[in-house]
């Protein structure tokens, strides 16, 4: 459609706050990253590899944030994801490391657990209409508790324990050398990514398509927009909500596998507060907590911003790592304020 100032029906062209938010998110990321490149140019920040590392480190978060976005679109929330990751990682480490179970069955088991976990939560939220916050909080406690029940020790997965999993974790997908840089010894170092990056990007693409082009995806928006109307228009709101939580937990399990490939360990304290990072990434990416508005491209950039903040703080080296939290806090506030300003502008335009 042509973007003319006055539409043919004479309705005023209103300020489209939602696209604006996405644009701001992307712009913010670019600005932050460019600033990093300028300020820390001698610390390797401008190298493509540093950028790729963002994806490598945050592959798990990206998957989880995609699931979170789907849930938040329905107006819900899923705070169980951090614990579910810990439980999945512990299960992987315990199964492969201690029990010597092969890699493939363990991965399938973890994915299946994600579906079951999500189905239980989704059933309670969708069909029994319990507050999502409460249900997933129970999930949070259960996951963390179960992690400790499986094993209280920290288990590292080494090469001897599982050759295949180890090789996945250390597989490098090398990009063409001209993208790389020459180090001090004159050797060209080609940039690389890990398989987890491909998984995460695939998740983003698939969820993007699902949200845009499937009936289920559109139903998520409808349910978040107005659940009563959605029901009246013939959507099965309960089922859709349940499916959203199944999707979230399933993507969380995929995220857990990425996370585990990254850390190669399982421990009770792992991924604590991960749910908060995922929610923050979604919100910074333009997803409204009230539901009905948001998309995964925004959430992807939300994750990258999250990662960039940490990266900036670590590269600096002198700052306390807690400054990353404060920066995130400031950003979140800024975005929430922006969202409500846009909402106000929208109301006034009407």
């Amino acid at each position: 459609m042509k973007q003319t100032a006055v539409k043919k029906d004479g309705s005023r062209r209103t300020f489209n706050g939602n696209n604006m938010l996405l644009a701001i998110t992307i712009l913010l990321f670019v600005v932050m990253y460019t600033t990093g490149c300028i300020v820390y140019r001698d610390k390797g920040f401008p190298h493509l590899q540093t950028f790729l590392n963002l994806f490598i480190t945050n592959a798990g978060l990206i998957c989880v944030a995609c699931g979170m976005t789907c849930v938040m679109l329905t107006g819900g929330i899923d705070i169980s994801v951090g614990s579910l990751i810990a439980m999945d990682c512990m299960l992987l480490a315990f199964g492969m490391g201690i029990k010597g179970i092969p890699c493939i069955p363990m991965v399938l088991l973890v994915l299946a657990i994600g579906i079951v976990f999500g189905a239980v939560q989704g059933y309670l939220i969708g069909y029994l209409e319990i507050q999502p916050f409460i249900v997933t909080m129970a999930g949070l406690f259960f996951g963390r508790g179960m992690t400790a029940v499986i094993c209280t020790d920290q288990i590292s997965i080494t090469q001897d324990m599982n050759q295949l999993f180890y090789s996945w974790a250390n597989a490098k997908i090398t990009l063409p050398a001209f993208l790389g840089y020459t180090n001090k010894k004159g050797k060209v170092i080609a940039p690389f990514i890990r398989p987890t990056v491909l998984i995460a990007l695939a998740v983003v693409v698939v969820i993007f398509l699902v949200l845009k082009y499937t009936k289920f995806g559109r139903a998520l928006y409808a349910v978040g927009g107005n659940p009563v109307s959605a029901a009246m228009m013939g959507l099965n709101v309960k089922k859709i909500k349940m499916q959203a939580y199944i999707l979230s937990s399933f993507l969380c399990s995929i995220g857990a596998i990425c996370y585990c490939l990254n850390t190669m360990s399982g421990s009770v304290q792992q991924a604590r507060g991960f749910e908060i990072d995922a929610i923050a990434s979604s919100v910074i990416g333009g997803t409204l907590l009230t539901g009905g508005v948001g998309n995964v491209i925004g959430s992807l950039f939300g994750c990258l911003i999250n990662g960039t903040i940490t990266q900036l703080v670590t590269t600096n080296g002198k700052l306390l790592s807690s400054w990353a939290n404060i920066a995130t806090a400031a950003l979140l506030m800024a975005f929430i304020i922006l969202q409500s300003i846009f909402a106000m502008v929208k109301n006034r335009n009407r």
Partner: protein
């Protein structure tokens, strides 16, 4: 069954705990007619519709529909939709965050390869539907960008496109202006000519006579009669609805307000709220009923919000009883003896999950402060007194207010303010969306209160009602107070007021 009959409902009975909502109700809808369903609040109009659409399950009775075998029991709105019964409610039941096209097609979107939603086809089809109905919208834009009227028409378009044969419109016009209503009527006539049976619920008598073919009147959950429009003149319709000889509304005379004016109670000088209302002066005397008139959006509500402190005034002074007052928030106003009944009772007025009693007690308790709790016995006494005095129809004082009909909810909120025994009461559209009987009761009550010395500000979109109740009118236009009309030189006439609202210079200051 007669050949032309589309829907026949007989001997419908529906009870709720403590209330018989429908008793032997009946309804017949023909093909290709616009059928008005009339009755006071609590007459059972909504209930019988909900029994038809499957929101409620009836206790007893038969429902037959042309082309459908046997007695129909709809268990959900989906069941009803599947046999071609669609409903458009007063509050639009669509998703504001989706595009117009999606709202038309959600749940049944056209799909292309791999089962993906085919946006192109969907937008094209949607545009065609809207063009055919002569509704000018860009279907790719979000629904929230359009007015309520357009949204309602989108809802109707959706129903029509789903091959509905019965279209139920539940008070679709209460939030529309005249032009929008006209558009809606044109659409309704188009559909009627295509053979759709339309059931139209409204409180506006004029609209019934403008657009409807037949009228079914209900009262107290019972069927009163089924008439053609021609055989039921207006006065008879009202009589049928009220169940008594029409106590001519005009007969309420301004008893209390005509007498000698009391002293000035509240005076505002040069008050304003940035962006909503330009500086205004306002005076009200004891025992006076003052009206604020003007078109919707002219600043009527904004002005009283400013006086009451719901919006803070940035300029000017306010005095009450001769002393200057500084009202920063509604609680200050309550403590000074003001009461404010807001115009949007769902959003600002009643607290749906609380009982009738608790809703009545709210303002009084707020004024007393939480440490001076009103005793249970006292609360019961107050609640019972106002339930009786205002004849609020409720099974008991403990019933959640959400279970009451609109008019009765309004009475509860009125009772809330009366309980604080205010000197100064602001009523913003107290009679909107409620039936004539309750309207009259509220108007009578207002005049009675003024007679006892209370000062009342009365806002209404219905000019007639204002003329009946108010002795002085402030005229609002475009966010400014542009003048006043008094009845000192004989009664105020409608023409006088309308020319003032429209901007006739005779009443300018």
């Amino acid at each position: 069954m007669e050949n032309n009959v589309l829907i026949e409902m007989r001997n419908i009975r529906k009870t709720f705990p403590g209330v018989v909502a429908l008793d032997n109700a009946q309804l017949t809808l023909h093909r290709g007619e616009i059928h008005a369903l009339m009755g006071e609040n609590g007459a059972g109009k909504s209930t019988i519709i909900k029994c038809l659409t499957g929101v409620y399950e009836r206790d007893a009775g038969e429902v037959y529909m042309d082309g459908v075998e046997g007695n129909i029991w709809n268990h959900s709105t989906m069941d009803a939709q599947n046999i071609g019964i669609a409903t458009v409610y007063q509050e639009v039941n669509l998703c504001p965050n989706l595009s117009v096209a999606e709202n038309l097609f959600i749940g049944r979107a056209p799909t292309g390869r791999f089962g993906a939603v085919d946006w192109k086809t969907m937008n094209r089809k949607a545009q065609k539907i809207m063009d055919d109905l002569d509704i000018q919208v860009d279907v790719t834009r979000n629904l929230e960008n359009y007015s309520i009227a357009i949204q309602q028409m989108v809802a109707i378009a959706r129903a029509v496109d789903m091959d509905c044969r019965v279209l139920i419109l539940d008070e679709p016009t209460s939030s529309l202006d005249d032009k929008e209503v006209e558009k809606l009527f044109r659409l309704m006539r188009q559909l009627r000519d295509k053979g759709v049976g339309i059931l139209f619920v409204t409180h506006f008598l004029e609209q019934v006579y403008e657009v409807c073919d037949r009228i079914t009147v209900m009262r107290n959950g019972q069927f009163v009669g089924d008439y053609t429009v021609a055989e039921l003149p207006r006065v008879k319709l009202v009589a049928a609805m009220l169940g008594k000889d029409f106590d001519d509304l005009a007969a309420i005379k301004q008893e209390g307000t005509g007498k000698e004016k009391g002293e000035v109670l509240v005076e505002c000088k040069n008050m304003s709220h940035k962006g909503t209302i330009k500086p205004f002066d306002f005076v009200i005397r004891k025992g006076e009923v003052v009206g604020l008139t003007g078109l919707l959006g002219s600043g009527r509500s904004e002005m009283v919000r400013c006086i009451y402190g719901a919006d803070r005034s940035q300029t000017g002074t306010e005095t009450m009883g001769g002393k200057e007052v500084h009202i920063r928030q509604p609680l200050d106003a309550i403590k000074l003896g003001m009461g404010y009944l807001p115009d949007d009772r769902k959003a600002e007025g009643c607290i749906a999950d609380l009982s009738v009693k608790e809703n009545i007690m709210l303002a009084l308790q707020a004024r007393q402060g939480i440490f001076h709790r009103v005793s249970e016995a006292k609360q019961n006494e107050i609640a019972d007194r106002y339930i009786k005095e205002l004849s609020i129809k409720t099974p008991s004082r403990e019933t959640p207010i959400s279970q009451l009909s609109g008019g009765n909810q309004q009475k509860v909120i009125l009772a809330r303010w009366l309980a604080t025994d205010p000197e100064f009461l602001i009523l913003d559209e107290p009679t909107r969306g409620i039936d004539i009987g309750t309207k009259t009761e509220i108007q009578k009550k207002v005049i009675e209160l003024a007679g006892k010395g209370m000062s009342v500000v009365f806002i209404s979109s219905e000019l007639e009602e204002m003329l009946r109740t108010c002795s002085r009118l402030y005229v609002m236009r475009d966010g400014a107070n542009v003048g006043q009309i008094t009845d000192e030189n004989g009664p105020i006439t409608q023409e006088e007021v309308m020319s003032a609202i429209a901007g006739g210079d005779s009443h300018e200051k």
